[in-house]
Amino acid sequence: MDLIYDFLAQVQASSSVLARWDVVLALLVGSVGGVLIGAIPGVGPAVAIAILLPATFSMDPIVGLTVLLGIYGSSMYGGSIPAILINTPGTAVNALTTYDGYPMTTRGEARRALSLAYSSSFFGGIFSVVCLIFFAPILAKIAPMFGSREIFLAALLGIILVVTAHRKHTLIAAAMACFGIWLNTIGLHPASYSKRYTFDQSWLSGGVNLIVVVLGLFALSQAFTLLHGDDEKVRLTKLKGSFFQGFRELARHPRIAGISATFGVVMGMIPGVGEFTAQFMSYTYAQKSSKRPEDFGHGSSEGLIAAETANNAVPGAAMVPLLALGIPGEALTAMMLSVFYVHNVIPGPQLFQNDMDFVVALYLALLILNVLVVAFLLVATNQLIKVVKIPNRFLGVCILVLSFVGVYSLRNSLTDCIIAAAFGIFGFVMKRMQLPVVPIVLGMVLGGIMEVKLRSAMARVKTPLDFIDRPIAAILFGMIVLVLALHFRRVWLDYKERKTDEWQTSHASTSFPAILSRRRNYILTERGKRLRAKRKTFSRRLTDKD
């Protein structure tokens, strides 16, 4: 009971932080901007956050983070619009929405699909924030138990999860994570002041800036991809009537909505896992437990609810490892981490102990944001869908112009722009081949954290077992072993499945001698007998014996 009273007192204190005009403006800009960005296929929150990042450095931490969090949280609402109407996901995480959303549009139920998507997203968003608000005091008690070795192990777990989450690309994802770790080591080693991989170049002695890499990999590469590609013809469906019916329909599926949101919260809290796993798990659960599983993928409302609820429950939960441990779980929160560092606010256990108002204010901002976004969408969807018509290559020009602000305003450096352009080309090549770029960013961020924490942790460790002699360290180590074991089991099963498929679908010509031999036997025995019996009446009896 005391916990709740403490918490309510904190909410009261935090609400004063939010009652400033600049925070309110940031909330409005973040929510409306996020929806717009999400609704334009080809932009996405990563591009927008990368571009806006340097602009937020001059703002208060709460204002800057509210804008970025707004874009992060609301882009998925916007992303569902093109996913449902034109079968093109606005953001990558809306891909699953197209499975059931677009078939509903082809049936003439676009309005129903959109209102279901909005209400499910709203439920997911609110559920995750409410969960986290009530967990916050418990987190504040657990977070101080994380010392250097626990944070190192959590970061290591994050990297391993990011790599293993890229099924079919695990090896190249691991190579990219290592590339990120190496990029982070370029420059002066802080502990010994010795140069690492600077090749005696002065521009490398300061290291490679994370934001420059992020802008190159996400914004510039996206601009190059759009400029290189063709425009798509878009035919929009006219929408009439209100969007409130989705809330009533959602209320008829409380079990799917609740469990999907729980998946979203749990997966969001684990670094490196994120929306895709949460969506996949909740969609599979909904399909297995549904009375009509055959409808999934053909316009099932339950499928749409599962996908949209799970992905919107993630942003709030993803702030937990970031705020409580200083460990970002994905590219977007990794970018947000730099806002903290610029303002000298170090996320981690200390933040929960000393600056709980700030943490609660962020959660309250996320809560208000969800309400604002739904209100905006219920009123403005008909006007908003027109942004889908912006031609792709024109969007490429716009992103290139905006990327300049992001890179150049950082340090007014031409070298930064050249590095960003180089990473833009690298990102373009990776996108062409559908290879993952997120492990590079996480490798850079988590690599830096691991280097510092391992150094300080090893100073107090005598034997290898000392490293995991504390309960949380032992649990994290157990989780790492479990994740690796599950991954290798999965690899082995995939290998066996592939071999079985190869065997089952092997071309007839591969066993040509066997087929030839069977054919010869058939001709010599069965077919011969039948033919001879048939011809018996027209010819003289054969002299040879059968």
Binding site: A174, F224, V397, S409, L410, G424, A459
Partner: protein, 229 residues
């Protein structure tokens, strides 16, 4: 290891071998340079050594990219007939690689030569396994340098001519270049450029320096332009 190379849109195989080979070559060169580019300090803990994390990074890059390269579906290149049929050529080729590897090991020492030999092996394998779709893909990668060039030209011109005029000109010319010639698109590009400058430079005051050209403007106009545009 399968030998199927498909053009299926879900599994783009074009360029995979080339990308993996180029990345592996760069990673190997970085690994070869580790002794020169990082230090091993005496008396310092193993995990606190300046070389420890670069070794993890570069070592992981080489190891995982090599494994990825090995697992890629690839098909041996069809060599000219005389190469396939001439036994002496295959003997001579094998002998050449062996002599090269032994020569490098004797010249540089076995440890320093190891990355070089590995590098030579990668180049040899890449030459043997590259597909015609790889070469076509490489041309597409090269075509992106044009857009990167536009971006860098924009960056170079802003400190000389000014953020507002260069942004307007850049948006209009690039919109024209990518194929939009209608009045609506040109107006949209112009309005977008002005909006970006007003929001970021005039309103948010992001750090973009005043142009050299603005220095020639008369008194009050000069400082107004330097501050806002």
């Amino acid at each position: 290891m399968s030998d199927e190379i498909t053009e299926h849109p879900d599994r783009p195989q074009r360029g995979q071998v080339l990308f993996a080979a180029l990345f592996l070559i760069c990673a190997t060169l970085l690994l070869a340079a580790i002794e020169d580019q990082t230090k091993w300090l005496k008396g310092k803990d193993f995990f606190a050594q300046p070389r420890f994390w670069p070794a993890i990074g570069v070592g992981g890059m080489v190891l995982f990219t090599a494994l990825h390269f090995w697992h890629l579906p690839r098909k041996p290149r069809r060599l000219p007939r005389w190469m396939r049929e001439a036994d002496w050529f295959q003997w001579a080729e094998s002998l050449f690689w062996a002599v090269l590897a032994i020569g490098l090991a004797l010249w540089l020492g076995p440890i320093s030569a190891a990355p070089m030999v590995f590098l030579v092996a990668i180049i040899r394998v890449t030459w043997l396994y590259q597909h015609w779709t790889d070469r076509r893909e490489a041309k597409i990668w090269a075509s992106v340098f044009e857009w990167a060039g536009w971006f860098l030209a924009y960056v170079l011109l802003v400190p000389l001519i000014g953020y507002l005029p260069v942004t307007i000109a850049f948006s209009l010319i690039l919109t024209w270049r990518v194929g939009y010639r209608s009045r609506l698109m040109m107006w949209s590009a112009g309005i977008f450029a002005v909006t970006v400058v007003l929001v970021f430079k005039s309103f948010l005051q992001v750090k973009i320096p005043g142009a050299a050209l603005y220095e020639y403007f008369p008194g009050a106009l000069r400082s107004f332009f330097i501050l806002n545009f």
